[in-house]
């Protein structure tokens, strides 16, 4: 199998991160629906961390996602 590209790794990291800390719903149907929801959650995350709110997975956003942190979600209902 081909090795996953760096971009794919970053996307997977972001998806996992947003699912865990920003309540990104799992199992979204359709490509468009999925990317809209991810953009919204990226924006929420960027706003929380005082980053430039673009909805894009830029270097600043990925840097914050890669930092060591607490496992409690930042916002939303606590389960």
């Amino acid at each position: 199998l081909p090795l996953p590209s760096g971009e794919n790794d970053n996307f997977l990291l972001a998806e996992k991160y947003l699912r865990r800390f920003y309540g990104l719903p799992a199992g979204l149907q359709g490509k468009k629906g999925s990317s809209d929801a991810i953009q919204t959650k990226i924006k929420e995350m960027q706003k929380f961390f005082n980053l430039e709110v673009t909805g894009n997975l830029d270097n600043n956003t990925l840097d914050v996602m890669k930092k060591a942190r607490c496992g409690v979600p930042d916002i939303g209902e606590y389960n």
């Binding site: 430039e52 270097n59 060591a68 942190r69 607490c70 496992g71 409690v72 979600p73 606590y78």
Partner: protein, 365 residues
């Protein structure tokens, strides 16, 4: 706070440590947890009693990967710990990832700092978006009392203040880069990045990053004081010098150079100078200018001596400038001086101010 402002409905809370990490001595773990609880009891009427058996309100444990709550850890780094808000059963329970290296200093993850943050959750605090707050979700190391004004306001909104009015000095709130009244402590280049020091934080501006990173100074350099007065880069030596009070430190990249701190008087400054306000290095002349109050000194890097005829008046030699400087930098043949909330762009060739902007224009505010 968590949704519905979850809190304990009593002030006498019990805790129990179920197991211990092998990374530290048992007594060090006990001390870290007790000190972490004291952080919160210092500012509230809460008291914490340790239980050795049975069910406590806050059950503290170390575990790795899936550890019994269907909320698994992820191995080294990443997730460090989690805790549940006040409530029955698992409520208040606090879990640390055993796959992390726990320490009592800054060499790896400091258990006291992580515990103080997690116990904040166990008492009802959610995450803060203030990078200077203990409840900020990203780990950073700092010494001193860990609560900021934001943390104290949050916990006192749930439980009220400490009736004994214990005096605590809260950690300063992280400065806002777009505050129109923002002033700088020090500015320097570091291998193509720009580093701006303000209070106990620094911003890191990288040419390929749209937003500056804001980081606690002691999180990166634990042995440095929490405030930097001046800094400059000598690119030929690949060293950044940082000044705080009468001492100076050297950085190679982000690593502190051995043999420091040294006294600033070793540079040839008189003992009456107790602080350098700003510093900049003019690479093509091999000179470093050190600004103190209303005067400045010139240091010859090659000779390692202070030039004769100094100090000289800032006001006389830099016409158009204020008579004091907070921070200074040399960039592409221009001198940049920062004083209060104004940035002066100064041409060394034409000896005049060629531009005035707000201090934080450097952040595109």
């Amino acid at each position: 706070h968590f949704p519905r402002h979850l809190k304990w409905d009593k002030n006498n809370i019990t805790f129990r440590i179920l197991n211990y990490t092998p990374d530290l001595k048992k007594s060090d773990v006990d001390r870290a947890i007790r000190n972490a609880l004291n952080v919160w009891s210092d500012v509230t009427p809460l008291t914490f009693k340790k239980l050795h058996e049975g069910i406590a309100d806050i059950m503290i444990s170390f575990g790795s990967k899936e550890h019994g709550d269907y909320n698994p850890f992820d191995g080294p780094n990443g997730l460090l710990a989690h805790a549940y808000p006040p409530g029955k059963g698992i409520g208040g329970d606090t879990h640390f990832d055993e796959d992390e290296q726990w320490t009592k200093d800054s060499s790896a993850y400091n258990l006291f700092i992580v515990a103080a943050h997690e116990l904040g959750h166990a008492l009802g605090m959610s995450h803060s978006s203030d990078p200077g707050a203990l409840m900020y979700p990203v780990y950073s190391y700092a010494t001193g009392f860990p609560l900021s004004g934001d943390d104290i306001e949050g916990i006192q909104a749930l439980y009220g203040p400490n009736p004994d009015s214990k005096k605590v000095k809260p950690r300063p709130i992280a400065p806002n880069k777009c505050d129109p009244m923002l002033t700088f402590d020090a500015v320097t280049e570091l291998r193509g990045e720009t580093i701006v020091f303000k209070d106990s934080f620094y911003w890191r501006l990288h040419p390929q990053m749209t937003e500056p990173d804001q980081i606690l100074i002691q999180s990166t350099w634990p042995s440095l004081p929490s405030k930097v007065d001046a800094a400059y880069e000598n690119p030929e030596k690949d060293i950044v010098f940082m000044f705080s009070g009468i001492k100076m430190w050297a950085l190679n990249g982000y690593n502190l150079v051995n043999g420091y701190p040294k006294y600033i008087h070793k540079l040839g400054l008189p003992k009456t100078i107790r602080k350098i306000d700003a510093a900049l290095h003019i690479a093509d002349k091999g000179k470093t200018l050190l600004f103190t109050d209303e005067e400045y000194w010139s240091y010859d890097e090659a000779a390692g001596t202070m030039d004769r005829g100094y100090p000289r008046s800032i006001e006389e030699d830099f016409p158009g400038m204020d008579d004091e400087v907070d921070a200074a930098a040399f960039h592409h043949g221009r001198l940049y001086f920062f004083h209060d909330h104004i940035q002066y762009e100064y041409s060394y060739t034409y000896r005049k101010v060629i531009g005035i902007q707000r201090t934080n224009s450097i952040f595109n505010c």
